[in-house]
């Protein structure tokens, strides 16, 4: 079954024309115990056909342990976006970014390809003061219209500061993780597994929570 219909394909082609540099999509899967790995793979295979700037690389979570560790991947399916030099940009998608989430995925690709929009100055300034490691998890469901906005903000913050990494987590696929973080409304944002909020909040709210992690002794 084709996941991308003609209309979506045409839209993607047009959007990806804005890409400045090549982007490599690194997909981590596993032979067994992964219900959505196959679909994620075929989804990405169809997606890369819409631009010759897009490349797909396959990794096995167990066999490519070292690479997984480098990109801090520990679940499957996981997607890591790499820049034209195949460098880790600290942004990830755990689970298939389909449904509404294709929007944050497309945005992520554009950002990594150099076609992003700058952060508001005040936020950029606050972000530059972040020097201790920050991990942002954004739990989503694919039917949630507000979720891509939260994922995009988290990813943007990660792209703009080397100490910040951000990951989307599809809550249904990673049920145990959702349970662990008590996810019952999405988007739910969890920072350093400690600070959290619900909703597609403003960048200022993200910054407030991120700044809390800088005060504690880590």
């Amino acid at each position: 079954m084709k996941l991308l219909n003609e209309e979506v394909r045409a839209q993607l082609q047009q959007v990806f024309e804005n890409m400045k540099t090549d982007v490599t999509i690194a997909l981590f899967t596993k032979e067994s115990e992964c219900e959505t790995c196959k679909e994620t793979d075929s989804f990405l295979n169809e997606l890369i056909e819409t631009s010759d700037k897009l490349h797909l690389k396959h990794y096995d979570l167990d066999e490519n342990e070292d690479i997984a560790e480098k990109f801090q991947v520990n679940v499957v399916p996981a997607i890591v976006l790499l820049n034209h030099q195949e460098e880790y940009q600290r942004i990830k998608f755990n689970g298939i970014p389909a449904g509404h989430e294709i929007n944050s995925f497309v945005k992520g690709i554009l950002e990594v390809s150099g076609a992003g929009v700058p952060l508001p100055e005040a936020v950029a300034e606050r972000l530059s003061a972040i020097t201790k490691p920050v991990n942002i998890k954004v739990f989503v469901t694919l039917g949630c219209p507000h979720c891509p906005g939260a994922v995009e903000k988290a990813h943007k913050l990660a792209l703009m500061n080397p100490h910040v990494e951000a990951e989307m987590i599809e809550a249904q696929t990673f049920y145990d993780l959702s349970e662990k973080f008590n996810v019952s409304s999405v988007p739910k944002v969890v920072i350093n597994d400690q600070y959290e909020f619900v909703g597609n909040q403003s960048l200022e709210v993200f910054m407030e929570e991120i700044e809390k992690t800088q005060m504690t002794v880590q």
């Binding site: 449904g99 509404h100 219209p145 249904q172 019952s184």
Partner: protein, 337 residues
């Protein structure tokens, strides 16, 4: 899991906001980009008015609706696609739609009004249309606030999938509540719909719901409290007829009890009724000349997409008339220059 792709929410391909330099002044500034705001934009632009639409989420509440089955011309389509259609229509007329931007203040001291946005920009306008819509209302019972995001939810299409195989409660008795119950019945083990009076929803929806095996209906039943330590475990309810209290167990409570108008922006500027809705005349003009309002935010009983769109059209035509009749054009033009 529904993998259907919903691309275009932010319309990457044709975006009128980022590439465009914000004009310094417009004829009409429309605040809110839901059905009312976008429809107003379409009408205003086609009248030849210099128009701008400023909204913090294009499509408004239509995005939160799974399927719309009562918008003429479309027997059934997703809220998302209808929102896209409205937006695409507006964009096709080259209306600047400033997205993800909130209007934080308007100044109406002078005939030329000033609209201030949260990104620090401001714009002057001869007329303003308030189309800020409404927001979900809370139940206002003990435990609700504490357990929000811990089982208490306000968006069935967002949070429904997190309750797969569990028992949930829907609070409310209007269309949104019955639709939520129907949607959730496909995911949850059991759905209990609890409403303090009788159903207000369309009969066709109620009939559909009654056919579903795993939905229990509690009418004339008041929710007194949402129970749970760290997560929702149920609700305490009281029957209005028997006065008997009981506990309904559930892990999720979806609150669909209606909406409160987003009128705070103009609370101190135009007249507002007891329900927080903006008062308007038959031409959608508020108590302040040159300020019009449309959609869920205005006085009136029925909050629907088609009504909001109709209101928007009226408000734009009325704003056009107002602008054409502005008494002292010269003085106004001086103010603008």
């Amino acid at each position: 899991m529904d993998l259907q792709l919903d691309i275009g929410l932010m319309n990457h391909t044709k975006d009128n906001s980022s590439s465009q330099i914000l004009p310094d002044y417009v004829d009409v500034a429309i605040i809110g980009a839901g059905p009312a705001g976008l429809s107003a934009g379409i009408y205003a632009q086609r009248k030849g008015l210099k128009t701008i639409v400023i909204g913090n989420s294009t499509g408004g509440q239509v995005n939160d609706t799974s399927t719309v089955e009562n918008y003429p011309g479309f027997s059934s389509l997703s809220g998302e696609s209808l929102a896209h259609k409205f937006y695409d229509h507006a964009i096709s007329l080259d209306i600047p739609v400033i997205k993800e931007t909130k209007v934080v203040d308007i100044n109406v001291q002078n005939k030329v009004k000033l609209v201030k946005m949260d990104n620090g920009n401001s714009i002057r306008a001869k007329a303003i249309i308030i189309a800020t819509g409404s927001n979900h209302r809370i139940l206002g019972v003990k435990g609700e606030d504490r357990l929000a995001g811990r089982g208490v939810a306000y968006c069935a299409i967002c949070d429904g999938p997190l309750f797969q195989g569990r028992e949930v409660i829907v609070a409310g008795g209007g269309n949104a509540a019955v639709e939520a119950a129907i949607d959730l019945s496909k995911i949850a083990k059991k759905v209990s719909i609890v409403h303090r009076s009788i159903f207000r929803a369309d009969q066709i929806l109620i009939d559909h719901m009654k056919k579903l095996q795993n939905i229990d209906v509690y009418l004339k039943t008041q929710i007194l409290e949402v129970l749970g330590e760290n997560r929702v475990t149920g609700v305490r309810v009281k029957s209005k007829n028997t006065k008997v209290e009981q506990i309904i167990q559930a892990e999720g409570v979806f609150v669909e009890v209606g909406y409160t108008p987003n009128s705070s922006l103009v609370r101190d500027i135009v007249e507002i009724n007891g329900r927080g809705e903006i008062k308007i005349d038959s031409k959608m003009q508020t108590s302040v000349p040159g300020i019009f309002a449309a959609g869920d935010v205005v006085e009136g009983p029925y909050k629907q997409i088609v009504i909001a769109a109709g209101d928007g059209a009226k408000a734009a035509l009325s704003a056009n008339e107002y602008i054409n009749h502005l008494s002292n054009e010269e003085e106004l033009n001086n103010e603008i220059a």
